[in-house]
Structures are given as structure tokens and as C-alpha cells.
């Protein structure tokens, strides 16, 4: 697995020519700007959807810079691109990542607006609960079922995963089947919606994927659930 990836990396600079150089039918497509002409790379740290800011590093053989505040950015320019697989010897022309600077939000919007708009939103998640050893939804979860179905339609979902779970009462096989029945209960609600049903995947993890860890043969309402992910 490593070798092909490495080989590709080594040929990286040649790739644009390999792709566009062999077109024979006129008119030839315009070649993209060659990557090897020298590039400026800017990396900027952004908050995630929840407003959380994490930490990233930019590293090359000459040095490393860490970014830890929203809008903090690092810039590196090079006359000749380098890839990590080429080792340190080919990296002389690349400078170390310079000290981070604050990138103003107008600039971020101007440069990254389209790429930010293109980024998909986070999937929607729902957890629905069940009564006892049954596939009967709790009253509260029954109410939320419509919300789940609506989400599939409104998000124009491309993939819906419905996974049934149980507590640890009973055998593995029994609980696998119970989890499956629960998942199908939720699937019924989506079946009534005007969506392509082939995007819906139903599965059961039985008692193998507990939300709350318990010993075997312990009734636990929080484990009797179906998890729905709408992507």
C-alpha cells in the first residue's frame, strides 16, 4: 500500500503534464498552471461548526509552526514544491514556516468563501428510545419520528443510516433480531416520505454497541435505542 502512494508522490510534479500532455484531439485543453512554477501556501485555522477551535501544525524539514487561535495563519512560499516522501534532501529551497500572523475575516471570506460554502454541513443525528424488550417507541421518541423523516427530506439526504441497539438482556442472536426490528420501525417512518428509499441502510448492532456500559443481562433503557444518521 505504501509503495504506490510513494511512487505517485515522487511523480507528483510531472502529473499535470502527464494528464494534459497526451491529449491529441484539437483543440487541446488549456494546461493548468504548472505546480512546479513556484507556489505560496497559506494555511489558516478556523472554528468548526460548533465554534470550537482546535490546533494544527504545519511542518516541513526546516521547521514547524503551530496554530491555536481562530484566524491564525501561516504562509510558506517556495520556488520548487516539495513532498514529504522526497525526504529532507530535496527541501533546501523551501523555507521554514514563518511565524503565524492574524488573518482578517474579510480576507478569509474573499479567499476561502467559495471553499467554505462548498464544505458540506455536519450530518444530522437522532437517537430514538424503545419500551422494554419491544420495538415500540417511547411516547417521546414517537413524537420525534416525524422530525427524523422531515430531516431526510429537507436536507435532500444522500445517505441515511438506521442502526438498532438493545440492552444486554437475552442472547446475542435475540438482541440482534430485536435491534433489527427496532431499526425497521424507524425505517417505516421514512418509507412514507417522497425520498429515494435506496439511500436508506438498516442495520443492527444488537447488544454489542452499548451507549451505557453494563454487565450482561442488565435492563437499561438508554441502551434500547435506534441511532439515525442523515448525511
Amino acid at each position: 500500500m505504501r509503495a504506490p502512494s510513494w511512487a505517485w508522490l515522487a511523480g507528483f510534479g510531472l502529473l499535470p503534464y502527464a494528464l494534459y500532455g497526451c491529449a491529441s484531439a484539437p483543440p487541446p485543453p488549456p494546461p493548468p498552471p504548472p505546480v512546479s512554477a513556484g507556489v505560496v501556501v497559506v494555511v489558516v485555522l478556523l472554528p468548526d461548526d460548533a465554534g470550537q477551535v482546535g490546533r494544527i501544525t504545519l511542518s516541513n524539514p526546516q521547521g514547524t509552526q503551530e496554530l491555536s487561535r481562530a484566524g491564525e495563519a501561516v504562509r510558506v512560499s517556495t520556488p520548487e514544491p516539495w513532498h514529504s516522501s522526497q525526504g529532507a534532501s530535496r527541501s533546501r529551497s523551501i523555507s521554514a514556516p514563518a511565524a503565524p500572523f492574524a488573518m482578517d475575516s474579510e480576507y478569509i471570506t474573499r479567499v476561502f468563501g467559495a471553499a467554505l460554502a462548498a464544505r458540506p454541513g455536519p450530518p444530522a443525528r437522532f437517537v430514538l428510545y424503545f419500551e422494554g424488550e419491544s420495538d415500540r417507541l417511547t411516547a417521546e421518541s414517537q413524537q420525534r419520528l416525524a422530525e427524523v423523516a422531515r430531516s431526510v427530506v429537507e436536507r435532500r439526504a444522500l445517505a441515511v443510516s438506521i442502526v438498532g441497539h438493545t440492552d444486554t438482556v437475552g442472547t446475542r442472536e435475540y438482541n440482534f433480531q430485536l435491534g433489527l426490528r427496532r431499526a425497521r420501525r424507524v425505517q417505516e417512518a421514512i418509507r412514507a416520505q417522497p425520498v429515494d428509499q435506496s439511500i436508506v441502510r438498516v442495520d443492527s448492532h444488537g447488544k454489542d454497541d452499548l451507549l451505557v456500559q453494563t454487565a450482561d443481562n442488565v435492563p437499561e433503557p438508554r441502551n434500547r435505542r435506534v441511532e439515525v444518521t442523515v448525511r
Binding site: 505560496v40 478556523l46 464544505r119
Partner: protein, 152 residues
């Protein structure tokens, strides 16, 4: 005796050839194109596929947008990537088998403007996430960032 060893040798050779020549196991989906606007394509084993909504992606895919293109990719671990116009990325390596501890997310950004939000791979094993650029490697500790590669 000699014939036996020749046959055994032949069989071994055939076996080894067969192993080497066997097509790689059917490429597993790593995620899909969640949204696409304007010109965009996915290059896979020398073929170019239109980057339409719902197109499943596999390891090794190169994803490229034209000057009016935008593409959003949703990976199975919920890592999310956005490509602005005239951008190109390659999915170098992707593994999401948490039960087996098999995790990898290696994305190469070749050009353009690209945004990233980490998913479960970064949450479970940040050291398995690498975003490669022409000037160095971005290491991720669970967060969102953007990269722009422009002409000098």
C-alpha cells in the same frame, strides 16, 4: 523426483504470478460527493468521472474543480472537505475501521482553495491524519482549517 520439483516450481511460480496479477480487492468507498456545482470531475485509474452529487469516492481518487466549480466531500467518518474553484485534492489513503484500530486520513492538496473539518478519524487518532501541501504537512488535532495554494 526432478519432474516433481519442476512441477512444484511451476505451480509456485503460477501461484506467485497469480497473487501479483490478481486485481486489488474491490476498492472500498471512502465517502461521497455531497454537493457539486459548476465544472468538476473525479479522476480514477485514468478515467474521468463527472463529479455529481452522490458519486462514491475511493482511495486514490483525484478530485478537481474548474474555474466555476465547487465540490463538497463527506467522508464516512464525517470528515468534511470543500473545494473552491480551480482546486485539486487527492485521497492518498483512507482507513476507517475503529474496531480494528485501523485509521488513516491522508489528503494531498495540489492547488486552489480547500477547507477541512475533522471527523472521527482525527477524534480517535489525530496522529493518523495528514494533509499534505507542496510546502509541508498539516497535522491536525481535531478542528477546521483552510489551505490556499496560489502562484508565487
Amino acid at each position: 523426483m526432478r519432474a516433481t520439483s519442476v512441477i512444484a516450481g511451476l505451480l509456485l511460480t503460477l501461484f506467485l504470478l497469480g497473487t501479483a496479477a490478481a486485481p486489488a480487492r474491490a476498492a472500498e468507498s471512502v465517502g461521497f460527493v455531497r454537493n457539486a456545482e459548476g465544472a468538476g470531475l473525479v479522476q480514477r485509474e485514468g478515467k474521468e468521472l463527472a463529479a455529481r452529487e452522490g458519486l462514491e469516492l475511493v482511495e486514490g481518487d483525484v478530485i478537481r474543480t474548474g474555474s466555476d466549480g465547487r465540490i463538497g466531500v463527506l467522508f464516512h467518518d464525517d470528515t468534511r472537505v470543500g473545494l473552491g474553484p480551480s482546486s485539486e485534492v487527492r485521497v492518498v489513503r483512507y482507513r476507517f475501521q475503529p474496531a480494528r484500530g485501523d485509521l488513516a486520513f491522508v489528503l494531498q492538496i495540489a492547488r486552489g482553495a480547500v477547507t477541512y473539518v475533522s471527523g472521527k478519524i482525527a477524534a480517535l487518532g489525530p496522529s493518523h491524519v495528514r494533509v499534505e501541501t507542496p510546502v509541508g504537512v498539516v497535522g491536525v488535532r481535531g478542528t477546521a482549517f483552510a489551505v490556499r495554494i496560489g502562484a508565487d
